[in-house]
């Protein structure tokens, strides 16, 4: 078989795949008679209302000297870890707003950080293509720095996101610029499985985000620069369970819905979307029209504990609170007093859902909490 022949067949196959994909899209479109917002409206549901004092900034965590890139809460205690461009990880006590650890990183270009489920260690990753684990209880060295307790190396590109597998301190899933996600065994420091990559059906561009299903931790979803999100089963590394198309830009962030049957995405195209992992349908698009042509990118998202609210950070400094049911913005944290002055780069909800932490390029983190008589929703 000559090269020309091969090329021809490859081209033909590509066309076929594209055709099939288009048919699939159309079929999905046919089947999808309404979206969540339309249905909720027809059922007469009214949107959540927010007064100006219902969600207030009650803490400002100052201490970083560079842009904050990532944050994570501990599941059980009220602590937050944040990663910043100043090359430090800081562990905060969110209640007293004090630092408990400031970890100087060997590589300052950090993109992500995570708290272990037990709260004993933190992980971070960045442009050094490695995921470093720090044990918070280990003694500091002569210069007062916390030593790296484990390095997970093997990625061939920057580490864009990491998340511990819930309920155990020994497994972590990372996503990377080398188009793969990797499940690691921290005790051995070796890769348990690699999801995607050159010879497998996976993402075709940098993977930017992962989120592990809270209700069954063997499923996780990843978002990538190829404008898709993919659902993976940790037991089947060879191929994605499902691929979710829809976005028109890089998928910067993915987050599982609290019930584990849906997940949300945020993208460079300025939209957040809600997908159902069982049907593969796109349930809802959250998009706020802007008067100017500049579409702000969605940098990070988080769901409230019930899933009724979707918090989304945007590159222009806005931070919308969406009513997931009706697809309406109910509050913009960026317009409240004491809000961030720069891009909101990361946000996360505490495990009990009572507080929201946002990190921004203005080097600060802020803790927002529900005020007044409002219950957690």
């Amino acid at each position: 078989m000559s090269a020309a022949e091969l090329k021809e067949r490859h081209a033909a196959a590509t066309v076929t795949v594209d055709n099939l994909r288009e048919r699939l899209r159309q079929r999905r479109h046919q089947l999808l008679d309404t979206d969540v917002a339309g249905y909720a409206r027809s059922q007469g549901r009214s949107p959540v209302t927010f007064g100006p004092t219902d969600l207030v900034c009650c803490r400002t965590l100052q201490g970083h000297t560079g842009k904050v890139y990532s944050l994570d809460w501990t599941p059980e205690r009220n602590r937050v870890v944040s990663a910043s461009q100043d090359g430090r990880l800081i562990v905060w006590n969110a209640l007293t707003s004090q630092k408990t650890h400031a970890i100087k990183l060997p590589c300052a270009w950090v993109m992500t950080c995570a708290f272990s489920p037990m709260g004993q260690s933190v992980a971070c990753g960045g442009l050094d293509s490695m995921c470093s684990i720090f044990n918070l209880n280990s003694p500091t060295d002569r210069d007062g720095n916390l030593p790296v307790s484990k390095t997970l190396s093997g990625h061939k590109g920057y580490v864009s996101c990491c998340q511990y597998v819930p309920d155990e301190d020994i497994h972590i899933i990372t996503s990377s610029g080398d188009q793969t996600c990797v499940l690691w065994d921290i005790t051995t420091g070796l890769r348990t499985s690699v999801f995607g990559g050159e010879f497998q059906s996976g993402h075709t561009a940098d993977v930017l985000s992962v989120s592990i299903n809270g209700s069954s931790s063997r499923m996780f979803v990843s978002g990538s620069c190829d404008a898709t999100a993919r659902l993976w089963d940790t037991r089947v590394a060879s191929r994605a369970v499902r691929t979710f198309h829809g976005h028109e830009g890089d998928v910067n962030t993915v987050k599982f819905f609290p019930d584990g049957n849906r997940f949300g995405t945020g993208s460079d195209d300025g939209t957040c979307r809600l997908f159902d992992i069982r049907t593969g349908h796109q349930l809802q698009v959250y998009y706020q029209q802007h008067c100017d042509n500049e579409v702000p990118h969605v940098t990070s998202i988080a769901f409230s504990i019930s899933g009724r609210l979707l918090f989304a950070g945007y590159s222009n400094g806005d931070c919308y609170v969406w009513d997931t049911l009706l697809g309406k913005v109910v509050l913009n944290l960026g317009s409240l007093q004491n809000s961030h002055e720069g891009r909101v780069s990361c946000l996360g909800l505490s495990a009990d859902g009572s507080a929201l932490c946002t990190g921004s390029w203005d080097t600060n983190l802020k803790i927002w909490a529900f005020g007044g008589h409002r219950k957690v929703i």
């Binding site: 461009q85 209640l95 004090q98 408990t100 442009l127 080398d178 507080a355 909490a369 008589h373």
Partner: protein, 921 residues
């Protein structure tokens, strides 16, 4: 009842009076509960009330309280003051505040029945009152009541309320949500409710005094002291507190009475408080966190962050009060104090330290602080320093320490520096009486009031005489005597904190950041490693291990490429063999002599199996999976293969294998050695290896340029040798089209874009599998970087690398092979012809001309892309030659310097136009 009691409580009344419970069951009777140990200190006397100190006037005038309702302000305060004082005396006695509180609660509970106001009721009322006041505030100040104003003030009050609750919560480890609930809801904990009750009781009492419905906060300043700091009165603050940003616009102006907290205006002199190291504002236990936030620079009010500290507080830098230690856990205190010590704004301002009459510069201060024996507790002030002997003291006083001698700090020592009157000069300083005694004891001859020269080791010389005397410290008893009269003795231990300071100052220093990027195989890693060797930043053990692994796995790759080539050559020669039978003069390699399908490229069965296996591994792309086990297992194969004739024959034709990089030969020649497990890569090996880590990550190094003699005369710039530079090298594979990482390099000073000069006739497969010229691919990457918004303002230095290889190549392959260089014109060849005589001249060699041509090409491209009128700097480099890399990096430093001094546009023109001038001529 209450009122009556108050009347009978006169100033200075002893607490014992309250003891008789038959008096009444009002709350201050709890003073009897004290059972602690006897007091070791004087009991503070209850001072008669100074009318001038009463907070009444201030409170009313402040923006906090604006109600025009006439309040029973003065009277209750006057009367309660003695009680307060007594109470706080009480508190002081008590070793465990917790027990006090309990007793308070108990009595409070018991009192409740008799006192009429229900706790929750009054609470709610107070909160309402707070809001109301806020509203009035808005009205009063602006005159027009705007809705937004109302919202704000509402927000403030409720926000503050929530905050306050949060504070409590953290102590109990409750969830945030609970704290957000108003105090009258059921969620509050028992502790909270009990404190609430006790305080509500206070309110109710007050309420009786005045009229019930007035907001009682005016009295609160005096009320707070009823509760010890641990049990905050919840409701009191909620009415006052505002959000963090609005509070303490003028932190120094306190509205409350003397000794009270600057934020809640409650408490008195005896309440434990933490002080802001900038403005001296004092905050009580419950306000401190709200006032100081997360303490990024230590104990400073939120509004004081970034300001210089009050110099009188310098001594307490890093030492916080016990109150803060109780408020926060150990780790938090540690972090806050370490940031207080090390943060930039809190450092000693050099201009305030005056040595020998001259104030110091930043560098001098650094020298002083980082020397072997730095002055202890250096504070702003006037000092004298004896450079010869290292004596150090405050101006007008005797020596207090002997620090490192021969430091170049400050001015010249004056004779009267230490205000001595002994008429004896040591190193031109008139010594003090004490020193004279010491010299006498040391047996120094002092007849005739001579002058001495004293050196750092204690040996001395009489002025005008040559003989050096024994060190004065050698004499028995001298040191002891010195200790007696508090004269300094030479230090015998090195100060351990020096390292700390030097590390801190290193952190503070400005780093010039250089980003080194380029297309694949453009030699960025070589330049990086060369710089690393050049500026003596050693590779760590870990890095060397990584490099070793990389060299070894690369070796296997080279073998695989060669083996693949061997298969091809074997096929070809077999084909030719067959042809050869028909046409005689066919084969060029002359391999037709072999029979039965054997050529000189054939290998044995065993090696064939290994070869197949290796090729298969390569194709599947999991070479690193079998590493490093492979080195152990297959080293003999590598050895055998390398010595195989067929393999050597292939190796000799390696130039036909495009995939094989040039450096392969360097490693292949030593294949046997490298494939061993105990192989240790040399500096040369490291330099030649492809890449730095097998993980394609970012690598960075910090360095400073070593000074070269005569450097100043060359470039005419004063370079600070201690200036630090950071070279950041990005792996090309991370330069994806999305540039998600680019925004992380916002603070970079200059981009070094590296291009391999030999790329012009080479091709690579891009992500879509299309063959593209590597020079054009480089150009494309260059364009995308130059136009990237993050790099829009940055300087670019174009590194044209591999100049040595261009020399060889340009003779064989014309530059016009690359379509972008189609107009590389023959004028130059004419030039070449003309200058035939002096071919060695730089400007006439073909490689030089090609370099200039390419440089101009890129400059034009740069100008066409650029909207900001930047200049593209160009440098020719051979990555493998240390001098060449050094030169390029020093050029980078110059560019940064030029950039700094904006006025020196002349220089920029000079340096950058020389290339243009020479090429356009």
């Amino acid at each position: 009842m209450d009122g009556f009691l108050r009347k009978i409580l006169t100033v200075g009344k002893s607490p014992a009076k309250d003891d008789d419970g038959d008096d009444s069951n009002i709350e201050y009777s709890f003073a009897i509960e004290y059972h602690g140990p006897p007091v070791t200190f004087n009991i503070p006397k209850a001072v008669p009330v100074d009318v001038g100190q009463l907070p009444t006037a201030a409170t009313v005038s402040s923006s906090f309280v604006l109600n025009d309702i006439s309040l029973p302000v003065i009277q209750p305060i006057v009367k309660t003051t003695p009680v307060n004082q007594k109470l706080c005396k009480d508190k002081k006695f008590r070793p465990a505040p917790g027990s006090v509180r309990k007793s308070v609660d108990r009595s409070a509970v018991s009192n409740e029945s008799s006192i009429q106001v229900d706790s929750s009721d009054s609470l709610g009322q107070i909160i309402d009152g707070g809001c109301r006041i806020k509203l009035r505030d808005g009205l009063g100040s602006s005159g027009i009541l705007e809705i937004s104003d109302v919202h704000n003030s509402l927000d403030k009050s409720s926000g503050g309320l929530a905050e306050l609750e949060l504070i409590d919560d953290c102590e109990e480890g409750l969830m945030l949500q609970k704290y957000r609930d108003p105090p009258d809801s059921d969620t509050t904990e028992s502790v909270l409710s009990s404190t609430a009750r006790s305080s509500s009781e206070i309110f109710s009492q007050k309420g009786e005094d005045g009229n019930n419905e007035t907001p009682c906060h005016v009295k609160k300043p005096s009320v707070v002291t009823f509760c010890d700091p641990e049990s905050c009165t919840v409701q009191g603050e909620s009415t006052y507190s505002e959000t963090e940003s609005t509070h303490s616009a003028q932190p120094n102006a306190r509205n409350g009475k003397k000794g009270s907290c600057y934020r809640c205006l409650k408490g008195n002199r005896f309440t434990e408080k933490e002080i802001c190291i900038v403005c001296n504002a004092k905050y009580c236990y419950k306000c401190v966190l709200k006032a100081m936030g997360s303490m990024p620079e230590g104990r400073k009010c939120v509004t004081c962050i970034g300001k210089k500290i009050n110099e009188s507080m310098r001594g307490s830098l890093g030492k916080c009060s016990r109150m803060l230690k109780r408020r926060l856990n150990e780790l938090e205190v540690q972090q806050a104090m370490s940031s207080e010590r090390t943060c930039m704004a809190n450092q000693l301002p050099p201009e305030l330290v005056v040595v020998n009459g001259e104030s110091l510069s930043q560098d001098e201060l650094l020298v002083l602080q980082t020397c072997q024996n730095p002055p202890k507790k250096l504070r702003p002030g006037f000092y004298w320093y004896d450079k010869l002997s290292g004596f150090w003291g405050k101006e007008g006083y005797g020596p207090c320490q002997i620090i490192t001698a021969q430091l170049n700090v400050g001015g010249h020592l004056k004779p009267n520096a230490s205000n001595g009157n002994a008429k004896i000069l040591i190193n031109n300083r008139e010594i003090t009486r004490k020193e004279l005694w010491m010299l006498q004891l040391a047996g120094v001859h002092l007849e005739g009031k001579p002058s001495f020269w004293l050196s750092a080791d204690g040996s001395y010389q009489e002025e005008g005489q040559k003989n050096v005397k024994e060190p004065i410290w050698g004499k028995m008893g001298v040191k002891l005597f010195c200790a007696l009269v508090s004269l300094p003795v030479p230090p015998d231990t090195v100060n351990p904190s020096v390292e700390d300071i030097s590390q801190r100052t290193l952190e503070q220093q400005v780093l010039h950041k250089i980003l080194l990027v380029g297309y694949q195989k453009s030699g960025t890693s070589t330049i990086y490693k060369q710089a690393r060797i050049l500026y003596k930043i050693p590779f760590s053990e870990n890095e060397i291990q990584n490099i070793k692994l990389m060299i070894q796995s690369n070796l296997y790759c080279y073998f695989a490429i060669l083996l693949e080539g061997r298969e091809r050559f074997e096929e070809e020669s077999l084909l030719e063999n067959r042809k050869g039978k028909t046409a005689i003069a066919s084969s060029s390699s002359g391999s037709a002599s072999q029979l039965d399908g054997k050529t000189k490229y054939s290998i044995s069965q065993r090696l064939k199996a290994f070869s197949d296996w290796l090729l298969q591994v390569m194709v599947s792309g999991n070479l690193e999976v079998i590493f490093p086990a492979a080195t152990r297992e297959y080293a003999p194969f590598i050895c055998e293969l390398w010595n195989d004739v067929a393999f050597q024959a292939t190796y000799n034709r390696r130039h036909e294998l495009e995939m094989l990089p040039r450096v392969a030969a360097y490693f292949l020649e030593r294949a046997v050695e490298i494939s061993k497990t105990d192989y240790e890569p040399s500096d040369m090996d490291i330099l030649y290896a492809e890449g730095i880590t097998p993980y394609k990550g970012l690598s960075c190094m910090e360095f400073s340029f070593p000074t070269i003699e005569g450097e100043f005369s060359v470039d005419g710039y004063q370079h600070d040798p201690s200036e630090r530079y950071q070279l950041v090298r990005l792996h090309p594979s991370s330069l994806g089209e999305n540039c998600k990482w680019a925004e992380m390099f916002e603070d970079i000073d200059i981009v070094m874009f590296c291009i391999s000069l030999t790329d012009y006739d080479e091709f690579a497969l891009d992500s879509n599998g299309v063959r593209t010229n590597k020079m054009l691919a480089s150009k494309q990457l260059f364009e995308s970087l130059v136009t990237h918004p993050i790099f829009e303002q940055k300087n670019f230095l174009l590194i044209l690398n591999k100049a040595d290889l261009l020399d060889e190549k340009i003779e064989q392959v014309p530059l016009t092979r690359c379509e972008w260089f189609h107009d590389f014109n023959p004028v130059i060849s004419q030039n070449h012809y003309n200058n035939n005589g002096n071919n060695r001249n730089n400007h006439s060699s073909p490689a030089q001309r090609a370099f200039h041509y390419i440089a101009v090409k890129f400059k034009r491209l740069f100008t066409s892309l650029d909207r900001k009128d930047r200049k593209l700097y160009v440098s020719m480099v051979t990555g493998l030659e240390p001098d060449s890399v050094d030169e390029a990096l020093r050029y980078t430093r110059n560019i940064l310097k030029w950039d700094e001094s904006l006025n020196s546009s002349l220089n920029i023109d000079l340096s950058s136009t020389d290339i243009e001038a020479s090429t356009t001529s």
